[in-house]
């Protein structure tokens, strides 16, 4: 069983994210980790390997620092890792990201592609499905349980609360949702091993692409500027006797806010 796991290095969930004075950039505290959902994907890949044998290979697209995320993946138990090193593509939109990754995947032999349902930085949740489409593969999204046997997979997908049990032939793409598993913490010995591993790097030219494809001017979509979230307005105290206030609160929630 050859399992490929796509991971993204993202700012640590606790990292400070501020909009630069220009409004065109983000100042992000330089503290990174593997995208939470990709950790579920990697853990699942390791479990499939432990059950069925095979090999887990981790692929990432990012700048030079992304090596750290790949080392963590190896420390957790991945057999191999490769970095597609390109800051411009990594910072580009979902389409470009999916394009690069699918070019890299075309060169691989695999039964399963696992990745997170979305990255916690851009929050797009587009890339895995786009990759599946580029490669002409089926996908099952937001997977909370995955069983592999005899060249096919049975996955529980939790797109909308209810669980859909879906069967699919391999190879296929699966996107991991919280609840799929509890990712392991790398062992000290694993980390030591990972520190010594040479991780190969690939450039976008190696994949038959050119760097100018990723510049904002030639991208399908591009971020123009960043905006702060809307501040909650000052509290509106609802006056009156408890019964009146309660009735008014329900009216506001139902008719004005339309949340109930």
């Amino acid at each position: 069983m050859n399992i490929l796991v796509l991971v993204k290095q993202v700012p640590d969930p606790e990292a400070l994210v501020e909009i630069a004075a220009s409004g065109r950039d983000l100042n992000i505290e330089p503290k990174f980790s593997i995208n939470l959902f990709d950790e579920f994907a990697l853990e699942e890949a390791l479990r499939i390997k432990e059950k069925h044998g095979g090999k887990v290979k981790v692929i990432s697209l990012g700048g030079p620092k992304t090596i750290e995320a790949l080392r963590t993946a190896i420390a957790m138990g991945a057999d191999e890792a490769v970095l597609i090193e390109d800051e411009a593509f990594a910072a580009s939109d979902g389409y470009n990201t999916a394009l690069v990754l699918s070019k890299a995947l075309e060169k691989e032999v695999f039964d399963v592609i696992l990745t997170g349902r979305q990255a916690i930085d851009a929050d797009r949740g587009e890339v895995p499905q786009m990759i599946a489409q580029f490669l002409g593969l089926p996908h099952v999204g937001v997977v909370v349980k995955l069983d592999i046997s005899d060249g096919k997979a049975t996955a529980e997908s939790s797109l909308e609360g209810a669980k859909e049990i879906i069967e699919v032939g391999l190879p296929a793409v699966f996107t991991a949702q919280k609840g799929l598993n509890e990712p392991r913490v790398p062992l000290i010995t694993g980390v030591m091993k990972a520190m010594k591993v040479q991780i190969p790097k690939v450039s976008v030219e190696d994949l038959g692409l050119t760097r100018d494809m990723a510049v904002p001017e030639s991208s399908k979509t591009r971020i123009v500027r960043y905006l702060p979230p809307k501040k909650r307005p000052a509290v509106q105290l609802i006056p009156g006797e408890p019964r009146e206030a309660a009735a008014e609160a329900v009216r506001l929630l139902a008719d004005v806010e339309r949340v109930i």
Binding site: V17, E126, V140, K220, L252
Partner: protein, 326 residues
Amino acid sequence: MDKVVVFVETKGDEPRKASMELLCEAAKLAESGKFSAEAICFGVLSDALKGRLLSCTHKLVRFTDPELAAYSPEGYARALAGYAAETGARMIIAGATGIGRDFLPRVAVILGTGMVSDVTGANWFDDPMTFVRPMFGGKVFAEVAFPASPVVVTARPNSFAMDMPQGINGEYEERAAGSLAGAIHTRLVRIEEAKGDTVDLTEADLIVAGGRGLKAAENFKLIEDLAAAMGATVGATRSVVDAKWRDQADQIGKSGKTVSPKLYIGAGISGAIHHIMGMDTSKVVLAINRDPNAIIFNYANYGIAGDLFEVLPAMTEEIRKRKERG
């Protein structure tokens, strides 16, 4: 005129709310004369629902292929992208529901274009069009320009007003995408509806949470009753969990769960910062506390400075009454 295709997601006899919001938005766009709007739906369609949809859109196209009776990302993507390509659509929009977000990326790739997901705002008349969407779990928003064509968008529910258009009586068309059978490689074996009627806190749209102000474990009944009346999930503060009034799974806050529901109602909660950090991304917050200086009011849209033992049952009753009235 630029054609806008709205994918209408239906569940039984009901359209998804996000789809209806987009239909209304598309109808508004059509009024401008710059756009024409169409709705696309797959699978069975009752007459009642058909009627409702036709009153909101100038054209409703239903695909009759049996393969589209159940959702499959490959089948849906192929049918929707095929129609968009064939009819030269300028824009394909869908609600950012689980299904919408799952298959629209495929539509984009088939059409050789990009997409913006989960938008909360749009400038349809800009050139290029721009959209606003959250990043980093809502810590910042990005304004995204979309120079490529067609434009593929999923929109977050509650982002566009549902102002029903007047005087529309759209035409209805049935089509078949054809040759889908070989294109779909996933098979839906069965659907297991979520157990019970409560959703996990982190996924819940509506949350009613209680704190120390409830005074005793048994008083959580008041919270549970209100939650049941509105179909909400029950949450709690850490001190309440510590006092073993509620299970750890109900704990909202830094050491518990981070929630971002559409509505958070907090009763008898003073507003310890650890709790606030777990709920501050809620869209609408109603706080009920006897102490008008309670910190939680600083983080609320609405506040009732009153006795929760009176307010909660009154709210429960009011919601039940409204439900009965329909």
